[in-house]
Symmetry: C2
């Protein structure tokens, strides 16, 4: 059983690094983001540090090629699809959790439930699903739409999607598979259930054609910051990733999410709030400041401005870098990031050029470069302030920053008693201190429908 | 370069075995079909035998739980999802091709193109996609429909789906990724293309967000036997799996497919026709006959009858085992299997009970148990008769039959010069002797559309 006084540590998968200048960092090796060996090394490094999980963000589109020359300066030239990548990583790791992003807007619940059940079986209980609703029109255009589905409609669909997926995972009860050769009974049909789900967005018969995952349900992760996003997370998520620009913002968010979870009748301790920290580690304060500057200088101004436009979902190309951000229309994209950026611009009265330089580094999340002790202090302060159950590290460049964190920061956290020395359990769920969910069909025998005759 | 006088050898993935009695075979270990180690052992065994590919069939549904007691006698209690399973298998193998089934009816081309591109990168050029259109209503009911899409509509959708997937794979040209740190150019935007595809079934902007796969395109596999199925395969497939009840049927099919491929302007030698053979290997003829009988006796009659009904897509429960098959209505399912079964019933005037026992063993494909020499003779005869470019083995139980084939039959084929002693190339495509496809955007610069501004 994990010690509740110890923090959770996750790390984001990035191609060459979270920082857009990271791939140009002279000290870092050139990373081929289609080479599995790169990701295997990162996952094994995080596991060496006893970290909880390795997380792959995702989108089902390319940001834009209209800003060709600007975007050609980023390493975003594709990435491996998360469920296939993490299935392969399951083979080269033993303990670390493997969390893949998949959209509820451009997928079907049967297919997603099946892939994550598979990943959970292959990894022997280490899978997690980061539920996203796909904020960009670029993704919509790859799936038969000109514009993205409306924000609230996406979340209504996501609510039903997650419920259907959970019931599909429960459609084979634990112990349904018998393999009784003498009785010619491979499975016990009484423990296999049809859903007969007919909802507003989905109609799904079931049962799933994969046995119940080792964790019961793979870990559900969510990162929505809007009202509907928070409601979905509070009701369904085991872990919530968030981008917080300060310890105050993080604490406010965590308090809100815990209260919302309690309002859904859940134990707030079973919802882990994990802000992301974009990171570098340096031997001294002076070196840290220099590294920040040098890295930012590797980002062309045109890329910074394009990125700002993309994050806001608004074309800013008619403005000069010295202008202030105009009032912006409500958009259909990811609201949390937009609002954080707008707040930053207003509070500090930043001209667009400076705002762009700020946003291009870390979007809305906290960015920090410091000595190992300073980074450990930051983590300890946020954790003790009740602003975080743990952190998701976004290394500015790879694999150096993750190696630095594992080799230099984690030992300090361990010495302070804030991080474990060994994995406590076998599954991700156990290592997060989360209970294995009860089977919905066992809890409620009236769930589902009578088996129907096939035609 | 592979020797054109040598055959291709593939093997099907089955949970415990292709034969429905296989899981009860007393000599075989109990197989946990959710345990990755089982499949890793099989893939490594096939690779030890220098076999070309390991193939995972699939459906996105459970056959039926209305016939609960009958189906509880099969080992079909779920299976791991193929793309995740094969990604994991890529890590524990080096040479063997990895072919996963995915449906064009219940998927979107962007998502499928991306997963298979990922699998091709992770495996360094060993991925294949078996294109299926999903024949069962059971699958339809998991994806929002009461009945399956009409047969011809499924194939019209599949034609467009495969074309879009291929163009997505081409949307990043070879060499598009530069990683030029000094010039701040990670990629060359001139080598990245939007599709702007607007077709009858799909609207897909592109580009894909994965670089061009190592093979250019993963191998396309098809197995449709109907008119539209053959047309799709002849136009788009690199390899065609087929179920043929005799060498004559196989030859007729191969001749037809080669002629159809030529009519599409393709080199018929670039379409590999691979019948499946359901197999056991025994030391003597007498032991072979006894094994066939003993294995069939492990299949309850009720399961055989249910399976026959399922394969025909018609409820036969009102008939007796001594009745003959009545005239059947045209159904919406997989036509090739249905027609093969009906032909078998008529030609041999089989009563339903016997027909069911025949069908439950191997559906429409060729089933054979013999000595190593006899199995080698069978392969040689079909190959020399021009009935097959190779074979896909369906072992009756696992892992024993695959081990027997690799250890006892392959050495004979090698001695006869009919099978290679070592892998010739690095990618599946090279090992099959297939050319790497030209990039459609390079061949036709007018393809695609002008990049659009994102909103």
């Amino acid at each position: 059983m994990p010690d509740p006084n110890q923090m959770i540590l996750a790390t984001f998968i990035h191609n060459s690094g979270a920082h857009p200048g990271g791939w140009r960092w002279p000290g870092a090796p050139a990373v081929d983001q289609h080479d599995f060996a790169h990701f295997a090394h990162l996952a094994q490094t995080a596991e060496r540090g006893k970290m909880h999980c390795y997380f792959s963000g995702d989108s089902q589109g390319f940001p834009s090629i209209s800003g060709k020359d600007a975007f050609a300066a980023t390493d975003y030239a594709g990435k491996l699809e998360p469920t296939t990548l993490l299935a392969a990583l399951a083979v080269v790791t033993k303990h670390i959790g493997l969390i893949a992003t998949a959209s509820t807007t451009y997928n079907e619940p049967y297919a997603i439930a099946r892939r994550f059940a598979s990943l959970d079986h292959i990894s022997k209980g280490r899978a997690g699903w980061n539920v996203v609703t796909s904020a960009s029109d670029g993704e919509a255009r790859n799936f038969g739409r000109d514009l993205n589905m409306d924000h609230d409609a996406r979340y209504a669909r996501a609510e039903e999607f997650v419920d259907v997926a959970k019931n599909l995972w429960d459609s084979w009860e634990d112990g349904a598979i018998l393999r009784d050769r003498d009785a010619a009974r491979y499975f016990d049909p009484a423990k296999v259930h049809e859903l007969g789900h007919k909802g507003e967005h989905f109609s799904v018969a079931g049962p799933l054609n994969v046995a119940r995952p080792p964790q019961g349900h793979p870990i559900i992760v969510q990162a929505g910051g809007s009202g509907p996003g928070r409601a979905l997370a509070a009701r369904t998520a085991d872990m919530i990733f968030t981008a917080a620009s300060s310890v105050e913002v993080a604490k406010e968010f965590r308090d809100d999410m815990r209260a919302r979870a309690a309002a859904f009748g859940r134990n707030p301790d079973h919802v882990k709030i994990i802000p992301s920290v974009q990171l570098m580690v340096r031997a001294s304060e002076a070196e840290a400041r220099r590294a920040d500057e040098e890295l930012l200088d590797l980002v062309p101004e045109a890329l910074a401005l394009r990125t700002l436009s993309l994050q806001l979902g608004v074309d800013l190309s008619h403005l000069s870098v010295n202008d202030r951000l105009p009032d912006l229309p409500e958009t259909n994209g990811g609201k949390w990031v937009q609002q954080s950026i707008i707040r930053m611009a207003r509070e500090e009265d930043l001209p667009i050029g400076l705002l762009a330089r700020r946003v291009v580094v870390s979007r809305a999340s906290f960015s920090y470069t410091g000595t190992p002790e300073q980074v450990a202090d930051l983590c300890e302060n946020w954790f003790r302030a009740g602003a975080a159950d743990g952190f998701s590290l976004s290394p500015n460049y790879q694999p150096g920053v993750l190696e630095d964190f594992v080799d230099q920061v984690i030992p300090i956290l361990q010495k302070r008693g804030l991080f474990r020395a060994e994995y406590e359990g076998d599954t991700l769920r156990e290592n997060l201190g989360l209970p294995r969910p009860e089977n919905a069909f066992v809890a409620n025998p009236a769930l589902g429908c009578e088996p129907r005759m096939w035609a």
